[in-house]
Amino acid sequence: MKSRHKKLLLIAVVVLALGAVAALVLNAFQSNLVFFFSPTQVANGEAPMERAFRIGGLVEDGSLRREPDGVTAHFRITDTAKTIPVTYKGLLPDLFKEGKGVVAEGRMNTGGVFVAEQVLAKHDENYMPPEAASALEQAQKAQQTLVAPK
């Protein structure tokens, strides 16, 4: 009888602990997911204003401008259909270049500027971040469907 009680107690403790742990993990998971949006989606207001998200596409040619402090950069991310202005304070990655793919993580400010906390590097000259590639693809598809009915 006593050992049965102990066993029940043990099982109860384990179940409780697992429940608590699962709650912890899932809660942390949900509150820290970062969603990806293309410039078109952001321009259409699909991106959340209140939480951080990722945006990807190409760095628009001629859009990069630096402030006199040398570390604050302004540029625009485009998916060829829509363009979103971005500002980032920090050193840009080695492979950041106008006309090349880029992914940035951050939030929209009230002025419609995306304030990046992180700008992600590619690891290879010929490599396009998958998020950026998909943003371009979607924009192209969207344009084609717009053209098609004519």
Binding site: L10, L18, F29, L33, V34, D94, D124
Partner: protein, 641 residues
């Protein structure tokens, strides 16, 4: 000629792997000694041919044979010799060959150090490893032949600059020693399931192999982390990048496994669970290889994506995991239960250890795979970043480390709780007091720092209590016992490093004109401009920063910005002044107007403790392997046979 020789050797190795995989297993099932005896020679012959293939590829890289596709894509005539050699495993094909080579190395080690094992056990272990090797060789020959030829190219397209680093000489082989080493634990587990003999001696055979693999993996991960720290130029030591997670998952399960094996060996309990963990650790190693090498993840480790490769690995993965779990389900119920234990006992502490480690693995798995699944199903792109992993890991690791202090002092079977509490109360009190005071020394009291210090001190104090008790009892040297405490001490050291650098690091990103100074803590950095620099296969700018400590000249740092000639890739080479209590880290950003540069500076307190801690953990593991127990049993059983 040489590449063809390598290719041919791989084909022979494939055939030998098939023989090594089928005959001994069939022999063990039918109790046919002649077939079982094939295991050792087949494994050694397979090793020979894989080694020839590996040497052939290394030779092609060293002489720069640009008629081999693999060499052309990953090497260059002006690449320094050492990197031409490491480029051998810098590509997908080459890394698969390295994987297979290391698997063959482990298999040969098993054939050499298994004289004390029963013949059917050896036959089964070597057979299972032969089947794994067969899968990898088939994969290589079918989808990723490293010796593929093409019309002679003028020159190669160069190795990725990130990989042109001394760290890359050793990181991949050591990491693979760990990954692949779990195949031995896996093979032992499958052999035990097949034979139905799952007893304490099985655990004793399996333990040193598992600990060795775990120690190699620890060093391998530590090197990867250190490499990322100095080479990526961002100053981080862990990014929760999927590729890092892929190596962390087998490590977490491997850590659970070496603890669970201890229970199985000493008390005969947790048997089925131990087998399950052995299958899990190896499966996660395979999953890691798949994630990293198939191009599913975008990172420095992934290469050109080829869907047939991904599909092959996925099928291989599914058949290995599926068949071993099926076998496990069929046989596990026959394994039987071991010794009973009370609610509070060393067994129960180790059980909680395993639950926490597996939960952590599950959390990492979720965070790593969920975005991939969503993407594969076309449900949108998401990413899971460091905030998730940090918020999950802290609450899981805190009780884990706290119990790691108590566990080794607890008795098997049943703990006398008041007695244990009595032994620990002073240590606990002292740890709490010191942990509350220590952050004040940094002039900035933070609760997380106090927690980190508490965990670290607690581990150190309990280890001291354990060692003192052992010395007083007059018990002699035990490599196992001291190795364990050394590894736990390594955790304590690492916790200090992580705590300090996470809470007290200083980062400055700024524009620096020539002659301009900036002060971080007691260090003043003066930027003295850049000079041109030309390396063997790159050109660039080399900055000079004079560092003074409290006004006195201290050191000079030379960060570089390079452009690699063949690929045109720009690259930041940071410079670091390493120190026991802090690192000074400098990286160049971009050239601005009139000689000014954007510069990144870090003051990183205690960051080397992270890697020192990992090295201590691995040393503890290697020390435990030398335990006399593993050798005595060998002699005894040798005498019996």
């Amino acid at each position: 000629m040489i590449p063809e020789l390598g290719h041919f050797s791989l084909i022979l190795a494939l055939l030998l792997a098939l023989v090594q995989g089928v005959l001994p297993l069939a022999g063990a099932a039918r109790n046919n000694p002649a077939w079982m005896a094939v295991a050792r020679p087949a494994a050694r012959a397979q090793f020979l041919f894989v080694a020839i293939a590996f040497a052939a590829l290394a030779y092609s890289f060293l002489i720069g044979d640009f008629s081999v596709v693999n060499v052309t894509r990953n090497s260059h005539s002006r690449l320094p010799e050492i990197y031409r050699f490491t480029a051998t495993w810098g590509s997908h094909e080459g890394s698969m060959l390295l994987w297979t080579f290391i698997l063959a190395l482990w298999t040969v080690s098993v054939t050499l150090f298994s004289r004390h094992l029963p013949d059917d056990m050896v036959a089964r272990v070597v057979g299972v490893m032969g089947l794994v090797s067969f899968g990898f060789l088939l994969f290589m020959l079918a989808t990723s032949n490293p010796f593929l030829r093409m019309p002679m190219a003028m020159d190669g397209s160069d190795l990725n600059p990130l990989l042109q680093d001394p760290g890359m000489v050793v990181h991949p082989p050591i990491l693979y020693m760990g990954y692949v080493g779990f195949s031995v634990a896996f093979a032992f587990a499958i052999a035990a399931l097949l034979s139905g003999k799952l007893d304490a001696s099985w655990a004793r055979w399996s333990r040193p192999w598992t600990t060795a693999a775990w120690a190699f993996l620890t060093i391998g991960i530590m090197m990867g982390s250190w490499w990322a720290y100095y080479e990526l130029g961002w100053g981080g030591w862990w990014f929760w990048d999927p590729v890092e997670n892929a190596s962390l998952m087998p490590w977490l399960v491997g850590t659970a496994l070496i603890h669970s094996l201890a229970v199985t060996e000493k008390r005969g309990s947790f048997k089925a669970w131990t087998v399950f963990l052995a299958i899990g650790a190896f499966s996660l190693s395979l999953l890691g290889t798949f994630l990293v090498r198939s191009g599913v993840l975008s990172s420095v480790h992934s290469f050109a994506t080829d869907p047939t490769r991904g599909l092959f690995i996925l099928i291989f993965l599914a058949s290995v995991i599926g068949s071993s779990l099926f076998l496990f389900a069929m046989r596990a119920s026959k394994v039987g239960l071991g010794g009973r234990f009370a609610l509070v006992s060393r067994e129960s502490f180790l059980m909680v250890n395993n639950i926490l480690l597996l939960t952590a693995t599950g959390a990492v798995l979720l965070g790593t795979l969920y975005p991939l699944f969503l993407d594969a199903l076309g449900l949108g792109k998401i990413s899971v970043g460091p905030p998730y992993f940090n918020s999950v890991f802290v609450p899981l690791v805190t009780p884990l480390i706290f119990l790691a202090g108590i566990g080794p002092l607890a008795r098997w079977k049943q703990v006398n709780v008041p007695e244990l509490a009595h032994r620990l109360k002073w240590g606990f009190g002292a740890s709490v007091v010191v942990a509350l005071l220590l952050p004040l020394a940094q002039g900035d009291w933070q609760p997380m720092v106090a927690l980190g210090c508490l965990l670290s001190l607690w581990l150190a104090v309990t280890a001291a209590i354990g060692v003192r008790a052992r010395l007083r009892s007059g018990a002699g040297w035990s490599a196992n016992f001291y190795g364990m405490h050394l590894a736990h001490l390594g955790v304590a050291v690492m916790v200090i490093g992580v705590t300090m650098v996470s809470n007290y690091q200083t980062e400055r990103n700024m524009r620096m004109a020539v002659g301009e100074t900036v002060t971080v803590k007691e260090y003043t950095f003066r930027f003295d401009g850049v000079t041109d620099v030309t390396g063997p296969n790159y050109t660039g700018s080399r900055g000079t920063l004079e560092v003074s400590e409290n006004g006195k000249p201290f050191t000079t740092l030379h960060p570089e910005k390079r452009i690699y000639v063949a690929s045109g890739m720009p690259f930041t080479e940071s410079d670091i002044d390493y120190g026991f209590t802090r690192d000074l880290y400098v990286a160049l950003g971009e050239r601005l107007d009139d000689g000014a540069w954007s510069v990144r500076l870090f003051h990183k307190p205690f960051v080397v403790w992270i890697w020192i801690g990992a090295v201590l953990m691995a040393l503890g593991g290697f020390m435990a392997i030398t335990d006399r127990r593993y050798r005595i049993s060998r002699k005894k059983e040798g005498a019996k046979a």
